[in-house]
Amino acid sequence: MTATTTVENLAPKDFASDQEVRWCPGCGDYAVLKAVQRTLAELGVKKENTVFVSGIGCSSRFPYYLSTYGFHTIHGRAPAVATGVKLANPELDVWVVTGDGDGLSIGGNHTLHALRRNVDLQILLFNNEIYGLTKGQYSPTSRRGTRSPSTPHGSIELPVTPASFALGAGARFVARSVDAQQAHLCDTLKRAHEHKGASFVEIYQNCVVFNDRTFSRFTDKDTAADNQLLVEHGKPLLFGRDRKRGLSMRSGCLEIEVVTVGENGVTEADVLVHDETNRNLAGLLASLDTPEFPVALGVLYCDAAASYDAEIHAQVEAARSKTDKPSLNALLRRGQTWTVAG
């Protein structure tokens, strides 16, 4: 057996492990797995340099189904483990897979700090708005009123919007896609991979068993066109079956409205143009929801800054370059010493 894998030849299926996939039939996780395998193949990454780190949850079983290195850690801690992997070896390509419970409930703080520190990780948050693995309790992203085993009378909490949270945390790359929208998902994953620093990708993922069709209002074939806004940098924020509807600023009041090009004298010039480096715009886009607005998908925000792992290694390098060959013996003798003669 030779130890080198030739990168060019890897096909999506080469990124599949030998383990039988064990999600519920019809689970959105299958689609995401497929998209990730395809993305890895298309990116031409090396299996041996790729690490998937996950927490606990249905979604977090992900690494077992990939033929890369993988670490299925403990509930909520994947970003912290992944940070350690990346700090130890910045050459590795490190992906985090987490769920809405794993990454935003128990693990919210690690997600926050990995984003803020800007560790060069791709963080994929599979949002099914439910706890799948533990059989259907509501999660921090569940709609208010969700009836679940732990909220038989309906949940009373206001859900957190993952993208808004990520922006509030100071993330430098925030994007969104949908499990079943393979092409869009692959493109989004590629953008995330390309971004140096922490990239946060929320993937709307359908849990057929405990929360089926939560996203159908904007993912169903017949609703998608009118309820999805596929943002692209430099392009006007248009949507709708005939791409005539668009987002426009209400003058002076920092609020957005939906306008229709060609009606009431509205022209394309009145429609906001997506600028993915504009954090305020990203904040606005993140907060949009049906029925009043479409749900914004794609790269909402991308504005690179130095990544934590790169900076920390730069500090180490700077310190190393100052001394010729650092000697531990010399270190131990730094400061006052004395000698007792023999």
């Binding site: 057996m1 130890a3 894998t5 383990q19 090396k46 299996k47 041996e48 340099n49 690490v51 780190v53 690494p63 077992y64 990939l66 033929s67 890369t68 290195y69 993988g70 670490f71 299925h72 850690t73 403990i74 801690r77 970003p79 912290a80 483990v81 992944a82 940070t83 350690g84 992997v85 990346k86 700090l87 130890a88 070896n89 590795l92 703080n109 690690h110 926050l112 700090h113 920390i312 500090q315 180490v316 310190a319 190393r320 100052k322 001394t323 650092p326 000697s327 531990l328 013996n329 270190l331 131990l332 003798r333 400061g335 006052q336 010493t337 004395w338 000698t339 007792v340 003669a341 023999g342």
Partner: protein
């Protein structure tokens, strides 16, 4: 009043011959702002340079900067120095330096009857006395009669000494501690050069400050030289010690721990990735390692202890030496992740600088009460090796050993140290790193026959195969793993086998660690005193005393707490009684009882302070009578 008063002036001239002493205990105490820690460290340096053996004990308030003059704002630094075998900080003080009334109030109890107390009488103002809770000025009533009091107006003399440097009086008074240091250095016939050099380099930008401090230092020294000190305030000489030749320095447990980790990592050919979160008294280790970037050490101040340990686990997975450290509450938070490290069988070193618990407890006070947590404190059957350091400089060797075990056995290792060891300094014969054993890690690289959980038949360790290695791609996790492939397995037999393997692996380490030796005494007798960790000094001295009194008492001091040394049961079995002094409520005693069914007697001390030799000696006495 039984003692003469000495006015703050130069009217006491003449130089007395120096008395010779074996050992002396001195404590510098003052307000947090008075620079007592610095004074103590400098005194230590100068004393170490003379070749004395010594032990130090810094004791500072929990508050960052408590209001000046209050009792809870008192900061103290104790040093015990002498000819040889100074393994404790001393039960009682021979000399107390008290820079204000509060310092006198808090510390006087520890001064031996007849001991000397030097007070800055200028600070005994009405307001300061009140803040310290004195109704009367103790310098003016007979409450100090049992002691030899030397009241000096140190403030006034300091101002006088530095008057040429045109400092504000506030700035000028900052040198009071240097004046005091000068005087005490004179008392013990010590040099001032280290301090002078240090001041010069520290205040390079403000030479006038350096000069003022040096002037104060010299003035204090000169005062000793020239003042006619009362005859109980003689100068002392400590005979030079007959110690092992070599190059020496003083070092705290924090320093030697940091260096030991680095030495261990170098011996293995690994980089350190240290993930931690600040907590008293563990933070200094983070600070020390953060300053070692030129050695490729990466330090990561995580958002909490959970992230800290997880980052270290991730780093180990990726091929670094993952290290994490904390104290009780933070170690508690790492519990779940330690289980993950045990389950995934990754190397990891966890340093626990123990402090008084439970809960937040007394963060600045020392204790050994996390032993149960270290040995037993995880869900599931989750064994891991536990080591403890006996002295500040022992931390070096223990750290190296912890790294060796973690790597060789692919396991997290817990190292127990404590608040006392972390801060206390002692002289250290600096090892030559070139002569340390090396144990280079060989990461698995051959895909042929690779299975991530296929164990080495000897150590029972699984292979360390790191990302970046072609052909070894594999997945690990916290769900029970197949004993070969590492895939998720719910198979009952597999779980049974894996649980037994994990236990056997840790148990087997005892075959690879030294048999337990006696620290002192014969290999059988009426009583063996078993200690672990920082109680080494007081136990040693107490056993020595008992033996001097002709008792058949021996001392065993454990470095390996899990697994216990393979001969320990037999060793202890040769004694009629087993006494276990611990700074907790009997944790090692419980472990020894279950391990060897020995009726170990517990001698607990749970006051947040190290044992006094006297306390252990009394424990020995009553155990012998029991």
């Amino acid at each position: 009043m039984a003692h003469g008063k000495v006015a703050g002036g130069g009217d006491l001239r003449g130089k007395l011959p120096r008395e010779v002493r074996d050992a002396v205990v001195i404590r510098f105490a003052g307000d947090s702002g008075d620079g007592m820690q610095f004074t103590g460290s400098q005194f230590t340096q100068e004393t170490a340079m003379v070749g004395n053996d010594l032990a130090t004990f810094p004791d500072y308030p929990a508050e960052i900067r408590a209001p000046a003059g209050t009792t809870f704002g008192v900061s103290a630094f104790q040093i015990h120095f002498g000819v040889t075998d100074i393994s404790t900080v001393g039960d009682e003080l021979d000399v107390l330096v008290a820079m204000n009334p509060a310092a006198l109030k808090v510390n006087l109890n520890d001064l031996r009857i007849g001991g000397t107390v030097i007070v800055d009488s200028g600070s005994f103002t009405k307001r300061n006395l009140q803040k310290a809770g004195f109704d009367n000025n103790p310098l003016e009533d007979d409450s100090m009669a049992p002691y030899q009091v030397i009241p000096l107006d140190i403030g006034k003399m300091t101002l006088e000494a530095v008057k040429d440097f045109e400092l504000s009086s506030k700035e000028a008074l900052r040198s009071r501690n240097m004046w005091t240091l000068g005087l005490t250095l004179w008392m013990y016939d010590r040099d001032r050069q280290v301090t002078i050099n240090w001041l010069r380099s520290k205040f390079k930008q403000r030479p006038e400050i350096a000069a003022a401090n040096i002037a104060a230092l010299n003035a204090g020294h000169a005062f000793g030289e020239t003042a006619e000190m009362p005859n109980y305030a003689v100068g002392y000489s400590i005979v030079e010690s007959d110690i092992r030749p070599g190059e020496y320095r003083t070092a705290t447990g924090t320093q030697t721990m940091a260096w030991g980790l680095l030495a261990g990592a170098q011996a293995a050919g690994l980089k350190i990735m240290f993930g931690s979160y600040p907590i008293t008294p563990a933070s200094p280790l983070l600070h020390a390692l953060a300053g070692l970037k030129e050695f490729g050490v990466i330090t990561f101040q995580a958002e909490d202890e959970i992230a800290a340990v997880c980052s270290a686990i991730g780093a180990s997975f990726a091929g670094s030496l993952g290290v994490t450290s904390s104290s009780g509450p933070g170690i508690a938070l790492k519990t779940e992740a330690l289980g993950l490290a045990v389950a995934t069988e990754l190397p990891l070193v966890v340093i626990n600088s123990q402090r008084a618990g439970p809960s937040t407890g007394m963060p600045t006070k020392t204790e050994q009460s996390d032993l149960f947590q270290a040995v037993y404190g995880r869900n599931g059957d989750t064994p891991l090796p536990v080591l403890a350091a006996a002295t500040s400089t022992d931390c070096f060797e223990v750290a190296v050993e912890a790294v060796r075990i973690a790597i060789k056995y692919m396991t997290p290792v817990m190292v127990l140290t404590d608040a006392y060891l972390a801060n206390a300094a002692e002289p250290w014969r600096i090892p030559d790193i070139e002569h340390l054993n090396r144990y280079p890690v060989r990461f698995r690289s051959d895909p042929e026959g690779f299975q991530p959980f296929l164990r080495d038949t000897d150590t029972l360790a699984r292979p360390w195969a790191i990302p970046g290695t072609p052909g070894l791609e594999h997945r690990i996790g916290g769900i029970e793993r197949d004993s070969q492939t590492g895939h998720i397995s719910y198979d009952p037999e597999n779980h049974e086998q894996m649980t037994r393997m994990r236990a056997a692996k840790i148990h087997g380490i005892a075959a690879d660690t030294p048999t337990q030796e006696l620290a002192l005494g014969d290999d059988s007798g009426d009583l063996v005193v078993v200690g672990w960790g920082s109680t080494f000094g007081p136990i040693r001295q107490a056993v020595k005393r008992a033996r001097d009194e002709g008792r058949a008492v021996s001392h065993v001091h454990l470095r390996y707490l899990n697994p216990l040394p393979r001969n320990l049961g037999d060793l202890l079995g040769a004694f009629t009684r087993v006494l276990v002094p611990e700074m907790n409520n009997g944790q090692l005693a419980t472990i020894l009882r279950s391990s060897f069914l020995l009726p170990a007697i517990s001698l607990p001390k749970i006051s947040g302070k190290p044992f006094k030799v006297r306390e252990v000696a009394e424990g020995i006495r009553s155990a012998l009578e029991s």
